[in-house]
């Protein structure tokens, strides 16, 4: 196991180096001059030149890169000009916000999609199957910002069930003392029930929006892999031996069908983490995606580089975790490696 992990980590190093080089070059190739943007509307040529010198963007590219790598080695990702804070601090506070939202969203999606997929597979062509197909097609084809705005309109504006979409906490609550950055966990640790419930309420709509989007791939993959397993010999044998249908489906079929679902989960999770920008925008969620997009609009290099690098590192870690989970769920994978 340990050698597997080490091996995978070694393999990740070249791709991370590649990411560092490519993001550096890409951000420099972007149109726009951050100095002109941040010099303000009243800037003269001289004022812009001063800022350029301050930012170091007047230096040759190779020197800028050298400085960037040197900072990176010390764990410094530079300064964000749009929020005025060090990028590492921004990412440290915003990543948990995104991660909390994404994980809850994914959890919701799994709780809905897996039973739906199983039911659809056990009765193909039935009403349940059709409903699953319609729901998952709708979920994947409706743009997330649209689902988000629709949910806000119905549940907040019309019905008044959901709290106002103002971010992670109602304005009159103070965030719990920082431990993990996950408000739910931090509120529990601080034994603050009010904040916990407040955070949960704020999470409900955005998480639902994300889960509607993530539903489709999970439900479909569950259905497809269940169909394959249900038609295999050992299921036929189990049925012939007179085992109850529930035992056959849950214990024998599902456990064997779960591997491709886990792969999909990993993919969906990493995709959601980076791609929930629109949900973050709609719900004023102070996450990492909206941060990166705002930085991109202002051609603010450092946060964009920091964001891509963080995402790359996350992908690598996620893939590793999924591989480990494989080994734990299905012993055959371990034997093969």
């Amino acid at each position: 196991m340990l050698s597997l992990i080490l091996n995978r980590l070694m393999l990740a190093i070249p791709s991370l180096i590649g990411v560092v080089i490519v993001t550096f070059l890409l951000t420099r190739a972007l149109p726009g001059d951050p100095a002109a943007y941040f010099a303000g509307p009243a800037a003269t040529e001289q004022a812009i030149a001063e800022i350029r010198a301050k930012l170091g963007t007047d230096r040759p590219l190779i020197e800028q890169f050298g400085r960037y790598v040197k900072d990176l080695a010390r764990g410094e990702l530079g300064q964000s000009l749009t929020t005025g804070q060090p990028v590492s601090r921004e990412i440290a506070t915003r990543l948990p916000a995104s991660a909390e939202l994404t994980l809850i969203g994914l959890l919701l999606a799994v709780l809905l999609a897996v039973p739906m997929g199983i039911l659809a597979a056990t009765k193909p062509g039935s009403a349940v199957d059709h409903i699953t197909r319609v729901v998952s097609t709708a979920g994947v084809s409706l743009p997330v910002f649209f689902t988000g705005l629709l949910l806000v309109y119905v549940f907040y504006f019309r019905l008044g069930w959901a709290p106002s979409p103002v971010g992670r906490l109602d304005v009159f609550l103070s965030p719990p003392p920082h431990v993990t950055g996950f408000y739910l966990v931090d509120a529990l640790l601080a034994r603050d029930g009010e904040v916990f419930v407040g955070a949960l309420k704020q999470l409900a709509l955005p998480a639902l929006t994300l889960s509607i989007f993530a539903l489709a791939p999970i439900a479909r993959m569950t259905r497809a892999s269940m169909l394959a397993v249900l038609s295999s010999d050992f299921v036929r044998t189990a049925r012939a031996s007179g085992l109850s249908p529930a035992k056959v489906v849950v214990t024998y079929a599902f456990r064997n069908a779960v591997l491709p679902v886990i792969t999909t989960l990993g993919m969906v999770l990493s995709f959601l983490l980076g791609a929930n920008v629109l949900v973050e925008k709609v719900f004023a969620w102070p996450g990492i995606g909206s941060f990166a997009v705002e930085a991109l609009i202002a051609s603010d290099f450092a946060p964009v580089q920091g964001f891509v690098l963080t995402m790359a590192a996350l992908y690598v870690t996620l893939n590793l975790l999924i591989d480990i989970a494989y080994g734990l769920i299905d012993p055959r994978v371990r034997l093969d490696s």
Partner: protein
């Protein structure tokens, strides 16, 4: 870990998450009517207006948490709302102001303190002014507009007396003391947090308050939230009514409107014109629209190179702009039209004022023929994608209309980050843009936008010695308080700008704000940010 253990533990964790058995304690009764919730699209990136790249929301933080020596008085505008009065300068941190021949002397208020309790002295004022003229960039530039340029000009006479020695006579000097830039910083606190590379403690003030204003920042989450508490020992004016102000960033315009309509948020600027029009009609909220002083949306034509160097062509374009359609379809009536006066002669000293062009395609065609281009030409029209909500439909209407006089336009969308860069190059033939000046003087506007010094804002690269002579004459006459000469010069440059029309003024934008009916005391300020100090909540 064994497989079964892993599966079991995952199940346990999931079950634990799914069943939180904690009920809310009795909600702590916050005094909501002493707390204001303001929402906006963008968040401040600094608490300090002197910082490199401090954005407009940062001006709001600085304005409410720092004091200036002087401030502006208040008047009622034509619709009966409070409006700052640029002709009335009142004391804020200073008790009084004594204008001498070559200097201005200020007495500071006795007992005024910074947020940390340190008394405010003339030393702090001198340090703050030195900082503003030394750090470069925007603050230094703005100080220069009032002929405040060198640290030697600023003298701390004793603890409560501060003197500015004048370099030259300039009638912008006193107004310039009441803009957000010359804020008074706690010099001892700043010096304690200064470093060798950062002698003015810019890093410190970016994230920490060092002022003595009516509010202090109690929570600072960049990009998300700013929470202010009232500073009860404030001496700069009457104690504000609101004890607490919460300012949240809500990026989605639809949600900002929903929050206002549901009554969850108290006040917001940034909404699309259409929303303001509808909110105003619905009358559930108070909507106040104030013309933005000294600001114009215009169409600029490059007077130095390309097809628009001939004034006749520029006039033809001015007769082919679909003014009325722009007002209705793009702005939903949320602006003051600047076209359709009886002629192109200045009607008074105010700026902006209406010009005499209207949509008249026959006249435009005749002018094109006169200019020797009866069949028109092809060119591009550029706009800032950062303000696409107004700019894009506007450009499409212009494109459609100019096609009638043979000018074929290709529309060039410039990303917001790149817009200033493109403006600086001064090679775009045709653009739409806005420009506004803080100080409400016509010659100030013209100095930046039409003068042959060719500043960034002279986006048309318009250079005409006659124009420069008028503008310079107005500046001199203004400084010497020579009314007759001033009037002649202002009318001269306005008339010339209409006749030569390197930029076609379209409309004066409105600063719209929507708030709950219970909110009173809103005051329009030239910096177009919210001043919490006059607001109260029923």
């Amino acid at each position: 870990m064994r497989r079964r253990d892993f599966l079991k533990s995952t199940a346990a964790v999931t079950a634990g998450l799914a069943a939180p058995s904690i009920l809310p304690s009795s909600a702590s009764a916050q005094a909501r009517n002493e707390t204001l919730l303001a929402i906006s699209e963008n968040a401040p990136n600094s608490q300090d207006i002197h910082g490199v790249g401090a954005n407009r929301p940062a001006y709001e933080v600085s304005w409410n948490t720092y004091d200036r020596l002087m401030t502006y008085g208040v008047k009622k505008d034509s619709s009966g709302n409070d409006h700052y009065d640029f002709q009335k300068i009142e004391p804020e941190l200073a008790e009084d102001m004594n204008v001498g021949a070559n200097s201005i002397t200020f007495k500071l208020k006795r007992g005024a303190k910074f947020h940390d309790g340190t008394p405010i002295t003339a030393k702090d004022v001198k340090w703050s002014f030195d900082r503003a003229v030394t750090v470069g960039g925007f603050p230094t530039f703005q100080m220069k507009a009032g002929s405040l340029e060198k640290p030697e000009q600023f003298v701390a006479v004793d603890d409560l007396t501060f003197r500015i020695d004048l370099l030259r006579k300039d009638h912008m000097t006193i107004p310039d003391l009441a803009v957000p830039v010359p804020a008074i910083y706690n010099s001892e606190l700043c010096k304690k947090n200064a470093t060798a590379q950062d002698p003015w403690a810019m890093e410190f003030t970016k994230n920490n308050g060092a002022g003595g204003g009516a509010y202090r920042v109690s929570r600072w989450q960049p990009g998300t939230e700013v929470v202010y508490e009232r500073f009860d020992e404030w001496k700069g004016g009457p104690l504000p009514k609101l004890k607490r102000v919460i300012w949240r960033t809500i990026p989605s315009a639809g949600n900002r409107r929903a929050l206002l309509e549901r009554g969850d948020a108290d006040i917001s600027f940034d909404l699309p014109n259409k929303d303001f029009q509808e909110l105003r009609a619905a009358q559930k909220l108070t909507v106040i629209g104030t013309p933005v002083e000294n600001a114009l949306q215009y169409i600029g034509m490059n007077a130095k190179e390309g097809p628009f160097t001939n004034p006749k062509v520029r006039q033809a374009v001015a007769y082919a702009i679909p003014y009325q359609k722009i007002m209705e379809a793009v702005l939903f009536g949320q602006a003051i039209p600047m076209y359709g006066d009886k002629d192109n002669v200045a009607t008074g000293l105010e700026w902006p004022q209406k010009h005499g062009y209207t949509t008249d395609i026959a006249k435009a065609k005749a002018l094109m023929a006169e200019a020797g281009v009866p069949n028109g030409f092809e060119t591009t029209m550029s706009f800032d994608l950062g303000l696409a909500g107004v700019n894009e439909p506007l450009c499409i209407l212009v494109q459609e209309s100019l096609a009638q006089i043979g000018i074929k336009l290709t529309i060039n969308k410039v990303p917001g980050a790149n817009w200033r860069n493109e403006l600086l190059k001064k090679n775009m033939p045709l653009i739409t843009n806005t420009f506004g000046g803080w100080l409400n003087y016509p010659e100030y506007f013209f100095f930046w936008a039409y003068h042959g010094q060719n500043a960034v804002f002279n986006t048309m690269s318009y250079q005409n010695p006659k124009m420069d002579a008028f503008i310079d004459a107005a500046r001199t006459a203004g400084a010497n308080a020579d009314k007759a000469a001033y009037e002649a010069a202002v009318k001269g440059f306005v008339d010339l700008s209409f006749e030569e029309v390197p930029r076609i003024p379209l409309y004066q934008p409105l600063l719209n704000v929507a708030m709950q009916k219970g909110i009173t005391g809103y005051r329009y300020w030239f910096h177009r940010q919210l001043d919490y100090r006059q607001l109260s909540k029923a």
